[in-house]
Symmetry: C2
Subunit: 208 residues, 2 copies
């Protein structure tokens, strides 16, 4: 280590640690994984939470269909193998974000328990917190909303292997949190997540 | 938009913009793409730069073999198709990081021009800056270093399609910066990158 110039830089060639980045950001890296049926309200909760976090000065980023399916995972279809790979990659990328110190949020149906558990284990092995949020909105409500008309198509047989219609949704057995969009507004849901993160030492409480 | 509680939170359900995250971080998202032969010094430059940036209060993260090959890209081998997919995914992930406002650095041989250009175009389409750094250390020097004994194996024919030995390295035609590790120390190289970023408005100058 040598010091050069007037900037008092100390030179290192090794990796910056996660702790150094977390100190810089004044927050902890964590993945908040939203799972639930199509149109259950995952993304609305996630984006509302993202706004609150950024307003509070925290760096949060949401991985969702828009920025993943059309980018990193655009070479994946909907076969069983591709669905598996879709969620695997999302878990790996969320882990990289959490390792950076970011509050990474993922908003995907992620219907299979084994896929979500794999993402959880990846984080566990890296010493990174993983918060699974089951958005448990009744299917009748999701189907009533159906903003993209997907349930309609699935019921008509035009869309195959649609989660909740002809493909199973395996509910989390021990999610960190359960939210129901038919009972909670986006704001109320976000507050529940904030409270969970604060209570579990994953987010400084306001005033800290 | 309604305001609730004493925290003066304004509620939104839409996406947080890149500009909002950049304002929070007081920096611009950018991808700094290091390319060059095996053992040319890419990672040393990248990690030295990462340290300087974090010391200066900037959030930077380095994607490299350690966190990509063993994670996101662990299901890829070394066939032409897999190499292509390796670099494609790295470009997509770097773009997500830059979109978050992070200074994303990538440190991979990335020998083919078309692969690097695809990553550049991805960023261009998203309005994100992309800085390609050609680490142009003479192959004799790289081969002399050979910390993992890879050149030796390649020369002995034990390793096939090794860049610079029996697979081509396509040098960048218009890299933003060229560094030669046989002439520049890691510190000197990092300063050159910092100066490039500052001069091009991608990093606030010290004192700003």
């Amino acid at each position: 280590m040598t010091k050069i110039r007037a900037t008092n830089i100390t030179w290192h060639e090794g990796h910056v640690t996660r702790e150094e980045r977390e100190a810089l950001l004044k927050q902890k890296g964590v993945t908040v994984w939203f799972t639930g049926l199509s149109a259950c309200g995952k993304s609305t909760f996630a984006f509302t939470l993202e706004h609150v976090l950024v307003q509070r000065g925290h760096l949060a980023y949401c991985l969702d269909g828009d920025n993943i399916r059309h980018g990193l995972n655009k070479n994946l279809g909907f076969s069983a193998e591709d669905r598996d790979e879709n969620i695997r990659r999302i878990g790996e990328v969320a882990k990289l974000f959490a390792d950076t110190g970011v509050i990474a949020m993922t908003s995907f149906i992620s219907p299979y328990r084994k896929d979500r558990d794999r993402a959880r284990n990846l984080h566990k092995e890296a010493g990174l917190p993983f918060v699974e949020i089951f958005v448990d909105t009744p299917i009748e409500v999701c189907e009533e909303r159906d903003p993209k008309g997907l349930y309609k198509k699935a019921r008509a047989g035009e869309l195959k292997q649609f989660t909740g219609v002809d493909d199973p949704y395996e509910a989390p057995l021990k999610p960190e949190l359960v939210l129901d969009a038919s009972k909670l507004s986006p704001q109320e849901g976000s507050i529940k997540v904030l409270e969970y993160l604060e209570t579990n030492g994953l987010l400084p409480t306001l005033g800290d």
